[in-house]
Symmetry: C2
Subunit: 410 residues, 2 copies
């Protein structure tokens, strides 16, 4: 007998038929004697429908009212799923974020969970009920409805699992686990049985968007075993867990992440004096543009070249900002390139293995792929290359690090 918190996303509850299917799935766990708390998202398409209504009225919706509006999506799903469970003879009870109470701060549309009352849920579980909770939403101390930001249902699930000390938090989605890389790019991409929280964070932030990043951070912080599974097919999925729990030797690399949403900016011939980085990035940040990779090279004439990447959507805006900054600084030139891609190798095993980065660079060189930028962390190495080489680079690296050939030993 275990306690599971299961989360089903928008696609998994996209129609009443799929909600019935989820009810079937939940029932098998109840029939096996487990306690189940189910967290659900809005039916797919519903959030966009609601956004469309708000958009028809104003392009500057009040965030408090936005939360009142959007939170109805999950509320519909909890009612329908509870009905479907009851039809199957499963006692069930729905809860909005307010009813649980999932108390958050008052940062509407991007609130953070502060604490969760588990009393009601525990009483229901004790009485043999399935507890069905609306994801993505909470309530602030003043009773205002809040939401956790898009994808926040994952965070709800992990937070509930942590509060209830659940045995596992299961995230049901439309993929059957976390892969060594995107299967649409590499045919031989392989589902991982296990991955560490840190690796998952790097994979997620680099574009393998299976889970919301905050939910993985949260799970890592509270050590909630997190499992990603498919709601449409059976299978063990991928368990995201602490490094220490690995039973076999660490593989060097867990996966290859990539991202083609970025653009690169370089300010050439900047005087090489202290404070230059902040004088360049200050105005960028003030314009609310997020910066990802940053590289600075020293040139030989007491000037330096400063390069960074931003989301491709911000490319034109950042160029305007930079042109002014470059003038003020007396820089020589601003160059931009939006035809780039970022490729990263990720793995906790990297820490204790020298030569991982050079193997990556060798592999790319062997394919005649020029590396434009390099950035490293303890468990990943990222490079920026021309976008046209992306698939080639990912396949070459996937093969070089033996991700497809290796036994599924983790």
């Amino acid at each position: 007998m275990a306690l599971y918190v299961q989360k089903y996303g928008g696609t998994s509850v996209g129609t009443t038929e799929r909600i019935e299917h989820v009810a079937d799935k939940v029932k098998t766990f109840c029939d096996d004697g487990h306690d189940v708390v189910v967290v659900v998202s809005a039916m797919s398409g519903e959030t966009n429908r609601l956004l469309g209504l708000a958009d028809a009225i104003t392009d500057q919706p009040n965030p408090r009212e936005m939360d009142v509006l959007l939170s109805t999506g999950e509320q519909v799903t909890i009612a329908l799923l509870s009905m479907a469970l009851q039809k199957r003879g499963c006692s069930a009870r729905s809860y909005t974020g307010d009813q649980v109470r999932i108390v958050t701060d008052s940062a509407h549309t991007k609130a953070r969970i502060q604490h969760i009352d588990v009393e009601h849920m525990q009483k229901d579980l004790k009485a043999g009920r399935v507890v069905v909770v609306a994801g993505f939403q909470g309530v602030d101390e003043l009773g205002n409805t809040t939401t956790l930001g898009r994808g926040g249902s994952d965070t709800t699930a992990v937070a509930l699992a942590a509060s209830l000390k659940a045995d596992e938090c299961q995230i049901y989605t439309d993929v059957d686990g976390v892969y060594t890389t995107d299967p649409r790019v590499v045919d031989d991409a392989r589902r991982l049985d296990k991955i560490t929280f840190e690796e998952m964070l790097e994979m997620a932030s680099l574009g393998s968007k299976v889970l919301q990043i905050r939910s993985v951070e949260f799970a890592g912080k509270y050590n909630v075993p997190l499992r990603v599974l498919s709601s449409f097919q059976d299978g063990p999925g991928t368990l995201i867990t602490l490094e220490e729990e690995y039973k076999v030797e660490q593989p060097v690399i867990s996966g290859i992440a990539f991202n083609r949403d970025e653009a690169k900016l370089t300010v050439l011939g900047v005087p090489d004096i202290p404070g230059v980085a902040s004088r360049i990035l200050g105005p960028v940040s003030a314009a609310n543009i997020e910066v990802d990779m940053i590289v600075q090279n020293v040139a030989d004439d007491n000037t330096t070249d400063f390069t960074f990447t931003v989301h491709r959507n911000d490319f034109e805006r950042v160029q305007k900002v930079l042109t002014e900054v470059a003038n003020d600084l007396g820089a020589r030139e601003v160059r931009g390139d939006s035809n780039i891609a970022k490729v990263s190798i990720v793995g906790v095993g990297m820490r204790s293995h020298a030569g991982v980065a050079s193997k990556m660079f060798d592999t790319l060189a062997a394919e005649n792929i020029n590396i434009q930028m390099i950035s490293t962390s303890e468990i990943k190495v990222s490079v920026v290359i021309a976008e046209k080489y992306l698939e080639l680079a990912v396949r070459a690296l996937h093969s070089a690090f033996e991700l497809d050939a290796r036994e599924q030993n983790r």
Copy 2:
């Protein structure tokens, strides 16, 4: 400076354009310095959409979950209307039934309001905000979401007006007031400037469905001046108020109501012994069939004929029930007729004027319309006639009681 509670129904908020129109309307009141609390329904079609989702899952939805589901409809509208008001520079704040708090009993899908906390609303009004409240919903003492039954937004508005001691409760709808009879039947039907609560109750229950009956009862009980107006055109509407407030002499009859949704059943040759009525109606009531008019005639052979009307939808079911009952009672025969209509004259003036009923019967006789059943109350006389004579009867009575010719003196 007055305090108005305004209620806008589903048609009035049926699209985002119409919500914007409502915001314009509300703003004119704010600009004139009035305090406004707005109660809104779900956008028209939304409740049916939600019912359809539930229906796709189960034909026996749990009432608690039904309320969780349906209450989302109004929640969407309060958010959108608040946004529309804010866009116009009107400070506004939305409240669900739970947030107000509108505390009800726990009778899901047909809950009754027990009390209303006015503190939050009064604080907002004092701060110059428009308060936008979701109609139709409340919360029970345990924190469960409840709903007041279809059309319950009227009840919410009246209850808020009573609690806040509002100067007027304005019900905006798609008609511009209460008429002497249905304008689709009588061209000369006239909008009433005023009508009493009692008359309105009789008119509403008899088929002039402008307002939900419970809201009128509530308004009468707490003496909340209630005004029915059109949200689509300007005009004073109809004020529903206490009898004593009439300034001119009472007219005899205020209006003609009618209803073609009923069917008539007669059990012939029932032994004329005590307890017969309950032996006939007991099983009908046990089958959850509501009975409207009841008439019993004594025949001359120690038997009696027992006649009553039910909603036409229940006609076949009630016939089955009655056939068994008639056998048990040794009655001679059961006859049914669904081609009937009920016509009623309504007016508080009737109390002090003799001859109103006979004038009605004379008028119908002059048109050769046979009366099948008669039922009277202090302020109305109802007759059942063959359905085919309905329009003829309504027009003849409307004219006989001078409803179209009379000056609009009330």
